[in-house]
Every structure is written in C-alpha cells, then in structure tokens.
C-alpha cells in the first residue's frame, strides 16, 4: 500500500501547556480493513475550550472525533491504533467501562435523533440508565439541562409531549440536553447545525458559546465561518493527516501552513 507523505504539522509549542488537557491523542491511526483513513495524529485538546475540526469531505474529521468516545468500536472492521487519553485516562486500557467513557464524553450528531419518547423522558433517559431513580432529582436534572440549552421556556408546559413533535432546531437542542444530563466533561458535536435553518443554527452556535466555560467541546464542521465564530482552536485535517492546529483567530488571519491558507481561502477543497 502506498504510504502517503505526512505533511509537516504546524502546532504552536505552547498549545495546551497553560490550560488543562482534556484529550491527548498520540500516534492515532484509524483503519477500515486494509485502508487507513487517519494517519498518525498527535493532538492535544485543551479543557473547557471549543476546538473545531475542519477539512474537506472524507479527510477523517468525523472518524477522528468518534475515536474520543470509542464510537468507532461499533463499526465493523474498524481498528484504532495509537494512544488516546481523556483527562489522563487511557480509553483503550483493559477494563475501561465503555458506558462510563460515553457518559464522560457525550456526542451529538448531524441529524438530531430524539427517542420516540416524551421530552422529559428523553432527557431523563441517561440518568435513569446510570441508576438515578429519585423523581425530584430527575426533575431537577431535566429542568437544568433544558434551561442550559435554552429550551425550557419553549417546552416546560408540554414535557410529557412527544419529542418528535418538536422542530428540527428544538430536537437538536433536546439532544444536546440529553447528552448533558449524564454530566459529561466533554461534548463531541458532529456537524450539529448542518441540517438546520440559519436561525436555528445561530441558536446552536449561541449555545456552544454559552457552554464553553463548562465543557470541553469538539465540533466537526464544514462551515468555516462557523468554526471561526464559535471555536477557540481549530484543527485542519487533510486526507487523514493533521496539517495545522492553532488558535482559531490566528489560523484564520495568519495560518502558518500554506496548505491551510489555500483551503480556508477556498483555493482548493
């Protein structure tokens, strides 16, 4: 198999040293059978910051994202190599409880996927699975999380109503609330607004901005203006390689890698 030339990764030396590290990826490779889609990526994601993954379709953004809570385990013939630590814990160590990892590292997908249950039960589902039975506690969790995603005022009078009756934007916010209900420290978002209208997109982006001080957020997006608006750091991936990782304002004003510049200015990709 042809070895792809790994581009020189441009990453500032002081990245991640002044803040806590939420995710440390070292030499991460992802294989789908004989085909390697992610090539030896080293990445250090700061805690309680928003990091955006950008790059052309098929570059490995979502594949890399799914590594952080081992969602790739669900894909047949998918193999992950290298080391990934979440808050200092090796997520591939023997004995790691996957449900605990996925409680710690929540995920929101491009297409909102509320359960065909009530609004209340969608949010309460996760805590119940993790053993929460106290009704008052569950009420508090549901209210807190729905308020956190700015959905409470819109649904407080119909919590028993079906989640499927909500609009697309409301459903996505409900999914975020559902992810928050189990108390994660990290939230992975795979193009969370790409299926939404501009107004709903704006609300999701506002929500990300509000959540950034409480959670580490990693967002995959095709929308570079969105990445520029909501993220603190941006990672540019190309053909499975990490080309540049930098503070967002610096990457979008003075990228250190010419390939990054060519991509974000639209000269390719």
């Amino acid at each position: 198999m042809m070895e792809l030339k790994k581009p020189e990764v441009t990453q500032r030396e002081d990245m991640g040293t002044t803040t806590e590290t939420a995710v440390l990826a070292q030499g991460v490779e992802v294989w789908y059978g004989p085909s390697r889609s992610v090539h030896g990526i080293d990445l250090c994601l700061p805690a309680r910051r928003v990091t955006a993954f950008i790059g052309p379709s098929g570059c490995g953004k979502s594949t890399l994202l799914r590594c952080f809570n081992r969602m790739n385990d669900l894909i047949p013939a998918c193999a992950v190599k290298g080391s990934i630590q979440v808050h200092g814990m090796d997520i591939h160590a023997p004995g790691v409880a996957l449900e605990e990892l996925r409680r710690e590292v929540g995920m929101v997908f491009q297409k909102s996927n509320p359960f065909s249950k009530s609004i209340y039960d969608n949010v309460a589902y996760g805590p119940r699975v993790h053993g929460q039975k106290d009704h008052h506690q569950l009420d508090e969790i549901v209210e807190t999380c729905l308020k956190r995603v700015a959905l409470w005022d819109e649904v407080k009078d119909r919590l028993k109503g079906s989640a499927l009756d909500l609009s697309g934007g409301q459903q996505q916010r409900l999914c975020i609330a559902r992810a928050l209900a189990v108390g994660p420290r990290i939230l992975l978002m795979d193009e969370p607004a790409s299926a939404l209208d501009p107004r709903s997109t704006g609300r999701i982006e506002d929500l990300i901005t509000e959540l950034r001080d409480l959670y580490t957020i990693v967002i995959v997006t095709h929308n570079m203006q969105q990445a520029a608006r909501v993220s603190d750091y941006t990672a540019f991936l190309y053909e499975g390689n990490l080309v540049e990782f930098n503070e967002t304002q610096r990457l979008f004003t003075k990228p250190e890698n010419e390939q990054t510049n060519d991509y974000i200015t639209g000269r390719f990709g």
Binding site: A228, F252, T253, K254, N261, I264, T265, G266, R267
Partner: protein, 242 residues
C-alpha cells in the same frame, strides 16, 4: 474559491495600482509646480484632487462590499485590510500634493536658491519612497517594504536640514525681513513639511505591505524582528532548495 471573490480581489488590486499611479503623477506635478513657480501646473494638481478623493471613496466602498459578501480570511483578509488602509494613505498623499502645489510662485521671493536645492533633494527622496512603497505593494515584497521604512530616517534628516537652514537664514541680522521674503521662507518650511509627511505615508504603505505578506503588524518598532524572521525563512528556504 468563489470566482466572484477572485474577480473582486483582482479588481481591487488593479484599482489600487491605478490610484497609486494617479497620486504619483499628482506629486510629481506638484513638485514641478512649486520648484518652477508654475501656477498653471499647481492649478492642475488642485483640479485633479477631486478625482483622487472620489476614487478613494469608491475603493473603500468596494472593500466593504467584499468584506460583507465574502468574509475573506487569512491572506485574502490581510490583503483587504491592507488595501483599505493604504487607500487612505494614498488619498492623504494626494492632499499633500495640493498643499505643495499651493506654494507655487512663492519660493523665489526668499532669494536663497540653495534652500530650493535642499527642497528639491527632499522632494526626490519623498517621491522615491512613494514609488518604492507602491512597488513593494505590487510585488508583495516585504523585504523591500522594510527598506522603504528604513529610508524614512533619511527623509527626516533632510527635512530637519531644511528647517535648520531656514532658521539660520532668518537669524541672519542682515537678512531682509519684508513680508514677501518671510512668507516665502515660511512656505518653504510648509513645503518641506508636506514632503516629509508624504514620506511618512509611504512608510505606512510599506508597513501595510509587511502586514499583508507576513501577518505581523510592524508598527512601533517591530521592523527588526520581522527582518530577522524574513532572514531566517530565506535561509531555511535556501537550505531546502539546496
């Protein structure tokens, strides 16, 4: 990349180049007017300033349109910011050309041809800086831009020399102090000051080019550091090429 953005950027570059040419011509004509005492040339400079002003406004509006429609980033963003800023500097140079031209017909009354000679030298240096500033813009040459910034010191020295010479003339006890002579000398100072300010604007243009190329803002003493970076990048490129 959007075809429209590419076309808009090319159009802006051309318009800046055209404005630069117009301003250079205005400066050259103003210098001729004041040194020759040619009031007809001075009138032409004043008449042509209106077009420069209108071009500046049109260019700024076009820049704002590009920002609003295309949200440029990285090198395109820096190009746009640079154009927006140096557009203003070019317009100011045009205004200073009018100031210089307005002194046409007054300088000979001072009766000191050596002072006019000093002014002529100052004019040559200022015009050269404007030309080089526009040249480094067209070539996106940060090193040349740094040289332009460095040459501002020489212009400042020449300006100081002109002022000192005029002060010495005024201090001479035998120097006639009639109104025409005194006004002539004051207008020489005014002309020198305008030429020196043109050079300052040329420096601003060069600094905008440095920002466009390197992404670093070179104002307030950053030149040495940027020259160091450029030298290092050049050495590295040479090593890679070899």
């Amino acid at each position: 990349m959007s075809r429209h953005l590419l076309h808009a950027l090319d159009d802006l570059k051309q318009r800046v180049a055209d404005l630069g040419t117009t301003v250079q011509q205005a400066v050259a004509l103003a210098v001729e007017a004041v040194l020759e005492g040619n009031t007809e040339k001075a009138r032409q400079v004043e008449a042509g300033d209106r077009a420069i002003d209108m071009d500046e406004v049109a260019l700024e509006e076009e820049c704002l349109k590009v920002f609003a429609l295309y949200q440029p980033v990285a090198t395109d963003l820096r190009l746009m910011v640079g154009i927006l800023k140096l557009n203003n500097d070019l317009e100011r140079i045009g205004d200073l050309a009018v100031s210089v031209a307005g002194n046409a017909g007054y300088l000979d009354a001072a009766g000191h041809p050596e002072l006019k000679e000093l002014l002529a030298q100052l004019a040559v240096r200022s015009q050269s800086m404007i030309h080089q500033g526009l040249d480094c813009l067209m070539r996106r040459d940060a090193r040349l831009a740094l040289d332009v910034c460095a040459s501002d010191d020489e212009v400042d020295r020449l300006y100081t020399a002109v002022r000192a010479s005029i002060q010495q003339v005024l201090a001479l006890p035998e120097e006639p102090r009639d109104l025409a002579r005194v006004e002539s000398l004051l207008r020489m100072v005014h002309t020198a000051r305008s030429l020196e300010r043109m050079a300052d604007h040329a420096t601003n243009i060069a600094e905008d080019v440095i920002y466009m190329v390197t992404g670093e803002i070179p104002r307030h003493g950053g030149h040495l550091e940027i020259r160091g970076w450029l030298d290092r990048d050049g050495e590295e490129a040479a090593r890679t090429a070899s």
